[in-house]
Symmetry: C2
Subunit: 407 residues, 2 copies
């Protein structure tokens, strides 16, 4: 008789954004006269950049003719795209990343979720708290945790991000094997300096850990002193994987394209202590369980890395950053302590109260959807996240409703 | 110190089609004057159907405007597409499948590869032999097998498909927990009758097994007595998952869209014997590790299910089936016993010889790429697979080269 993967039973009832969607639907049904404004989930609201639309159309025109048709593509992504990424995202910032270390995929959610498959079931995993839930839930499913108890899973090492450490947790005192980091951070909007990342790289080199570095929001960095990539830190190629995404930077949330960098020097070890190339393991995983990204999506993505495309997405992220500054200013005027909103599309707001109650309050009184910090972990309690992804007039309207409701 | 998933070490050196690509590249470098003709990997060669191109363009036009833009979509796929699938693929054949039991994805390779995650690590798995390698390799990675020995993995139950059973293996004498079946079959081209599938459904109901039914080639069935879906068999909803794909049927190999049906009645059990909905487990898995299919790909897919689209893909599969008949006739004339080629785009040819040697011989003497049966398992030895996916003139040229080389 077939038995389930019992680890699924440890999962909390519902993925955070599914629960939010449920509450929003209930509210909308109860108060249909005032449309809700969504500053919750980090989903972009503006049309796909025009260069990407053109790139998309070009790809489809090729698919429409027998002579130019593309069937199965490389599981790793087309070289034309990987070469562009290597140059634009890494080479130009002085990072040594080559095209054959880049794996194109349909989403950073998939990649950050799947990468743990390469490692042993009994390794020790460290995650930030607050945390993007995918890092945690995928390790729960893989059996690397105990049960859920008092707001945490047994067996995981939590790295508290607090106002005291500027929401940049330092390395823990004990050794761990796998560490998830995300900067600019989701949900706190915090950024890590080169010195802070160097401390993590040094920790990983010393303890033999691997860092899974989620850089999905690097496009929003404006402070030139801040690193965009972990490979700006010496020695990172031996200890870090980096995840990137076009979702927020180029409006690809509905179009789906991301990429992951796995340097050739990165090794993990078998039980005899022999090293294995993590790049080769990921390549094997992707070749076996994935069939590459839609060809026209890859031509759309390639267009983003042209000089024209980069100018267009810069203007786009400028716009969202202006929204973020408005949100932060307004919430500070209302007396709340804030993090993020600069170099990040998220503002992390200390409410001091039960964050689901604050979420419900803002939803019911202002008709605005935000995200309760408690959904991101124990250290998210007492905070909420407001996302800058919306049209300016919607953001202004939402802030004015929030001001009226909370003042 | 980080340790690898040791199960990856059990995997054979390389995925079948990677090895073929390697040999073809070496051959092309050595004999550049005669371009090789590919009848190996089952990749379509004709342009995307015009209705799908139009659907694709419509989706992109929507992505190009703020008012019509789609960001993150449902992880399960858009309802407009799932409703069309439920009616066209199932309702019209008398199968009771509803839209909320359909999960749209970027490939049947991903879904057939990922589905095993829902089950315990120590269940017993049965696979056909010959077999689509993804069913096997993903279970090796998950630790459900022992080592590779004498052409097989310890711990897997192999179901031999032989000329004696018409390449339709009957249920085994022992109980197993999870069974992979594929009809029309890849690689043998065999089809299962309703009576044969009913025997499997009855076995699964009796033993508490779940059948993962891969119907990626159902579009090629022309014999009206043959089932297209396992849900044409009474009682299948309690024991079977079905995988479908637009890759071969609608030329989506480079565009990427597939779907999986998980009926509400399907249950698996925890260690206390309590039932759990497999649909809900899959929904949780997809919500956590997947972010939905590209919106324009879904509008392209939806166009395939219109009356016009279905007419176009029928004409396309007719064309490939005519190729298949030519291949089968020619190989039979050359004295080879064949299976498939009717109701299937694959012809499975008994050579009686070492199949990699036969592959090399056809590649070197005829410049034609086929697939060695041994790559699909022990019972593939002595066979090769020829795929009908190519242009008619290429197929005719390939067959004439093969005739000259082998006669």
């Amino acid at each position: 008789m077939i038995r389930i993967n019992e680890h699924y039973r440890k999962l909390k009832a519902s993925y955070l954004f599914v629960e939010i969607a449920r509450r929003v639907a209930a509210h909308a049904a109860a108060q249909p006269e005032r449309p809700v404004i969504k500053l919750g989930i980090g989903d972009v609201t503006h049309a796909l950049p025009s260069v990407a639309v053109e790139g998309f159309r070009k790809g489809i025109a090729e698919q429409a003719g027998d002579e130019t048709f593309h069937g199965y593509g490389p599981e790793q992504g087309y070289e034309f795209l990987r070469e562009l990424i290597a140059t634009a995202d890494f080479g130009e910032r002085g990072c040594d990343v080559s095209a054959d270390e880049i794996f194109v995929s349909d989403g950073a959610k998939c990649d950050t979720g799947n990468f743990q498959e390469l490692f042993a079931a009994d390794i020790t995993v460290a995650v930030p708290d607050p945390v993007y839930p995918v890092y945690v839930d995928t390790n729960v499913m893989a059996g690397r945790t105990g049960i859920w108890r008092d707001g945490r899973y047994d067996g995981l090492v939590y790295l508290p991000g607090t106002s005291e450490n500027g929401f940049v947790p330092p390395p823990p005192s004990q050794p761990v094997d796998l560490v998830y980091l995300c900067f600019p951070n989701n949900p706190t909007g915090s950024t890590a300096t080169k010195a802070e990342l160097a401390e993590w790289v040094s920790y990983a080199r010393k303890t033999g850990a691997i860092i899974l570095f989620d850089a999905a929001y690097e496009e929003f960095i404006r402070d030139d002193s801040l690193p965009h990539s972990i490979y700006e830190i010496d020695g990172a190629r031996e200890v870090a994987v980096e995840f990137r995404s076009l979702s927020k930077t180029a409006g690809f949330t509905g179009t789906r394209c991301a990429y992951t960098v796995v340097p050739r020097e990165l090794k993990a070890f078998d039980s005899q202590g022999s090293p294995h190339s993590v790049r080769d393991l990921w390549n094997r995983r992707q070749s076996t369980k994935f069939n590459g990204v839609s060809y026209p999506v890859q031509t759309a993505a390639a267009a983003v890395f042209t000089p024209e495309g980069r100018k267009e997405i810069r203007a786009r992220s400028d716009y969202y950053l202006e929204n973020a500054a408005l949100i932060r200013t307004t919430m500070e005027e209302l007396g709340y302590e804030c993090s993020g909103g600069f170099n990040s599309p998220y503002v992390w707001i200390r409410t001091g109260t039960d964050s689901w109650a604050f979420f419900d309050d803002v939803l019911n009184r202002a008709g605005v959807v935000i995200t309760p910090g408690a959904g991101f972990g124990l250290h998210g309690e007492g905070y909420v996240r407001i996302s800058a992804f919306n049209h300016r007039e919607k953001v202004i309207e939402a802030l004015s409703r929030i001001q009226a409701a909370l003042r």
